[in-house]
Symmetry: C2
Subunit: 164 residues, 2 copies
């Protein structure tokens, strides 16, 4: 939930979503447009609940139910990606206009670090061929400590949870 001050490139995404809706015989509505625009303004991960809360008290409010329903559509349309790691609840991430990438999640500060590697993608393709599996997409998450938190650990700071 870090809305950018300006969102000039949401037009393309909206056109793409319209095409998706038309293809599926579903309707192009104001709430759907509002939800997409707001989702695109989130530069990093966000939860449905956050977006719903933000839109409930927005200029042109949209209800919780509609937000949840529309996020599902946006995922199906390929404009958003579901993230199910590091938290019990689903997170979303904008994928439109971005290259596929993976994540490292810091156990300590919860920060997400993005990375991508063509070789890894190739290895996964290979594994799929071996198992006759037809890949649609994939997800890689590495858990551990980011550079800063590893340094803190090194200085002898106690773990945030590690009481005793």
């Amino acid at each position: 939930m870090n809305p950018l001050p300006d969102a000039t490139d949401d037009h393309d995404a909206w056109v793409e979503f319209q095409q998706f809706l038309r293809r599926r015989g579903e309707r192009i509505t104001q709430p759907r447009r509002i939800i997409l625009q707001r989702a695109l303004q989130c530069r990093d991960h966000f939860r449905a609940e956050e977006l719903a809360a933000a839109l409930a008290q927005a200029d042109r409010p949209v209800s919780r139910g509609t937000v949840y329903r529309t996020l599902g559509l946006l995922v199906e349309a390929g404009l958003l990606r579901e993230i199910r790691d590091g938290d019990v609840h689903v997170h979303y991430e904008v994928t439109v206009g971005r290259e596929h990438h993976e994540h490292m999640v810091c156990d300590r500060c919860g920060r997400f670090i993005e990375f991508s590697d063509a070789d890894i993608a190739e290895q996964l393709d290979h594994a799929c061929r071996k198992h006759n599996f037809h890949q649609r997409t994939h997800r890689i998450v590495i858990f551990g400590l980011c550079e800063k938190c590893a340094e803190k650990r090194g200085t002898g700071n106690p773990s945030p949870t590690g009481g005793g």
Copy 2:
């Protein structure tokens, strides 16, 4: 939830869990033993709710609350692994006595296919070094269609969701 007819190798795991509990100054109890044994009998993924339901009506019943609490301990002890893909809710998988592996999840039938690849692990290590990230563990999931479901798709069967 596929209990094996015989479970001869749960002794080692129980000893390991006991050691973990002692180290943490927690108590070795019957319910904890029962829960571990039952979890070990699940050859694939299971949900807390499933295990809780099974144990609630078991020979020596254990309550839901205790199951949830103990599963958390088992994860901390490293005997189970949390899985957060393919479903909103957490899945668990036995890790003790097994090598680390990754998953392919079928979009259609939900089946999990396990695979492992040393080269991929090496690539991930490399990526971590590049980002000064200290890996604790990682998780890879490939989404798509398994062999059988891909064949069904090929025969012209309509998609389960795709009305049109």
